[in-house]
Amino acid sequence: MKPLLFLLFLTATSMPAQPVAASAEGKALFRSNCAFCHGLTGLGGRGPSLASAHVGALPDSEIQSIIKNGIPGTTMPSFEGFDAAELGQLIGFLRALGSGPVTAHPGGDAAHGAAVYQASGCAGCHRIGNSGSIYGPELTRIGSARSWAYLKESLAAPSADISPDYEGVAVTLKSGKKVTGLRLNEDTFTLQLRLPDGSFLMLPKSDAAEVRHLDKSIMPAYTTLPERSLNDLLAYLGTLRGTATGAAVDKAAGVH
């Protein structure tokens, strides 16, 4: 089922709808409200590329609802302040994006990509569904949440963009022991980390001789993967869309 869906997705992107002209107002609204995550041109960044048929196929009412309410369970927040005219201008901008030429990517063999995922030890830090580790970001719907280009960069240069939820901290305790973990919370006086085994480390900063915020990602760079394996892995990640519709919320199960 999954490969078929993916194929449909690819087919759709290769058949752009009628080009739509975006208004200056729509562009301005997009730049000041959306570009922070979706990039100045909407081709993706920390948030997904919006220049896809996936977005283009959504009816206005659905896009309006996403903008107004955000997407629960994802980093897409709600933007309640737009009036109907502004929503129309924004949607016009999004439709124009989807109607233009979309940067093609080479595609790949998703089934082989799944094997590359297993062989490369990704599950040691990441979780898909209920399998894998809780240490790194969950990848269950990563194919919906990030563009192909962003994922490629994340594999080759993980430090290029580190989500605030996954910042690494290296602590040297006064006992001399060194630990590295992901920051769950920090304030002026205390620190709470998640350690690689999934457990919590909670300490007053006065217990630490040094607290160092890593400016690099904890994830290693996968620079030695052969080009084909990398593309297959990216193809596999592209199939990870949470539910069949790409929604993050499994409403039937009551799971967010």
């Binding site: 730049r31 570009a35 922070f36 605030p164 304030d187 002026t188």
Partner: protein, 525 residues
């Protein structure tokens, strides 16, 4: 015995009326907190020292007042002879027993039919036996201090959703109540008003933005002054000897798009010195001409008398949102000094008159311009304090930059008039600190770093202490000389958005800090 009785009676009779003389000498009543700033000069220093550097580690919660309604408390309560008067948001106010936190009365402003206004409030002014506050729909009201009963209710500006509003604590001067309007992001034209304390009748209005035909009107392009902003959303200070009120004026509008309002845009981002009797302008000093980054000059204009280059001078000092600390002569408005205190990359330096010499590429743009400080500023409306013993100025520093966007925007009444937006810089962590400055040189004496940029002000006492709060919920006490952290309490809220105050009742000293929707009061066991 009779003499003693007479003395007691006099002592009992005295507190009934908070007359202007008591307000002029508010620092001489350290047991009370008689104005928003604690006194007219806004030093936020108290001679109380029961709680001191030696015992502050034992400080503990005495009572918590959970308001239930009124949102996040931004108030600084007044305390008069054992009674605490606090405003909350949404037109609510309470009187509390300052020892127990028990409610004496509660007031709810009745909004006119059809008015749907909510919002924060920063506190009361008191004069005689009356309390004065503003409402979210831009009214000024007077309440009976003993009962909370409404005495008069005057409209400052007609209510319309998304235009004017009001949040500040009024300033009572002689027989008047001075207030200012908010709405710098809504295309309003700002003003400072005075109302007769007895009747509620408006005595004068100072428009913060001059129109074409008026003095200063030529600093605005075309008719842009009519929507020019310049809100007066924080309380001013007052010098009784000079008979002058000092008021910090907010940003010009639209905030980020300066293209439609070429010129210096007076009196936005300025300090204005006004005659409290008639509202006439004595002098002004503009910190940020033609501001395009929302750098209001609403920060506390603190009045200090200090030896400036060997000669005593009457000064007004302000740590400004634009990241410079300023010293002016408060008789003349003469610029004496301006020193950056936080990261800034917008001004090369200030010239001899205090006017900034701009660096290139600092204007907001369609593509976004990365600039420090961010929209919220190097500091903001949270109150600083000054301790005459350490001779240090204590204030909250925010280290945070933004990407500023600008787009031409058509003004529509009732809608925000920002001229685009600002966004935090991705991957760049904000932080902040509590800073002690020598106000005569701008030199840092000590600095205590916070994990996040704070929104809470400071208080300093003869107990050798500075109190303040960070953005993670800690209320803290510091050694005023060294900056050593001596005590902390996790209030459990990230909403510490006002300034601590202190008072005493029956010889026992209390420390109060509104936190989230609560008012928390501490004392020694």
């Amino acid at each position: 015995m009779r003499m003693m009785m007479g003395f007691l009676l006099a002592a009992l009779a005295l507190p009934a009326q908070v007359n202007p003389e008591r307000l002029n000498h508010a620092l001489d009543e350290p047991q009370n907190w008689l104005t928003y700033w604690g006194d007219y000069s806004a030093v936020r220093y108290r001679t109380l020292k029961q709680i001191n550097a030696g015992n502050v580690k034992n400080l503990r919660v005495e009572w918590i007042f959970q308001s239930g309604k009124g949102g996040i408390a931004e108030t600084v309560p007044l305390v008069v002879d054992g009674v605490m008067y606090a405003t909350l948001g949404d037109g609510i106010a309470v009187a509390l027993d300052a020892q127990s936190g028990r409610q004496l009365w509660r007031y709810q402003y009745v909004f006119p039919a059809g008015v749907k206004a909510t919002g924060a409030n920063r506190g009361f002014a008191i004069l005689g036996d009356r309390l004065f506050m503003v409402t979210p729909d831009s009214h000024v009201i007077a309440l009976e201090a003993k009962t909370g009963k409404l005495i008069w209710n005057t409209e400052m500006a007609p209510w319309k959703s998304g235009t004017h509003y009001a949040t500040l604590a009024p300033l009572a001067v002689k027989d008047k109540v001075i207030v200012g309007i908010s709405g710098g992001e809504q295309g309003v034209r700002g003003f400072v008003d005075a109302y007769d304390a007895a009747t509620g009748k408006r005595a004068w209005r100072f428009w913060t933005i001059p129109l074409k035909h008026e003095k200063g009107g030529d600093t605005w392009d075309a008719d842009s002054a009519e929507r020019g902003g310049g809100p007066a959303w924080m309380t001013g200070t007052y010098d009784p000897q000079l008979n002058t009120v000092y008021w910090g004026i907010g940003n010009p509008g639209p905030d980020l798009d300066g293209g439609v309002r070429k010129g210096d845009n007076l009196y936005s981002c300025s300090l204005v010195a006004l005659n409290p009797d008639d509202g006439s302008l004595k002098w002004h000093f503009q910190f940020t001409p033609h501001d395009t980054h929302d750098w209001d000059a609403a920060e506390t204009p603190m009045l200090l008398d200090l030896p400036w280059q060997g000669k005593m001078r009457k000064l007004v000092v302000q740590a400004n949102r634009n990241a410079f600390f300023y010293v002016l002569d408060r008789e003349t408005g003469e610029f004496l000094m301006g020193k950056p205190f936080a990261r800034q990359n917008w001004a090369k330096r200030l010239d001899a008159k205090g006017r900034p010499i701009l660096l290139p590429h600092t204007e907001p743009s369609p593509e976004g311009t990365h600039l420090c400080p961010g929209l919220a500023g190097g500091t903001n409306w949270m109150a600083p304090s000054y301790n005459p013993e350490t001779k240090m100025f204590y204030f909250a520093v925010r280290e945070q930059c933004d990407v500023y966007y600008a787009e031409p925007q058509k003004y529509v009444e009732g809608k925000g008039y920002w001229g685009s937006v600002s966004r935090g810089v991705t991957d760049e962590k904000e932080w902040g600190s509590l800073r002690a400055l020598d106000p005569l040189t701008g030199a840092t004496k000590w600095d205590f770093r916070y994990y996040r940029a704070p929104w809470a002000g400071t208080l300093t006492t003869a107990g050798g202490l500075v109190f303040s709060a960070d953005e993670d919920g800690y209320l803290m006490a510091f050694d005023a000389k060294s900056g050593t952290n001596l005590w902390k309490f996790n209030t459990g809220t990230g909403h510490l958005v006002t300034s601590p105050m202190t008072y005493s009742v029956k010889g026992r000293q209390y420390l109060t800090m509104p936190a989230g929707g609560a008012i928390i009061t501490f004392a020694l066991p």
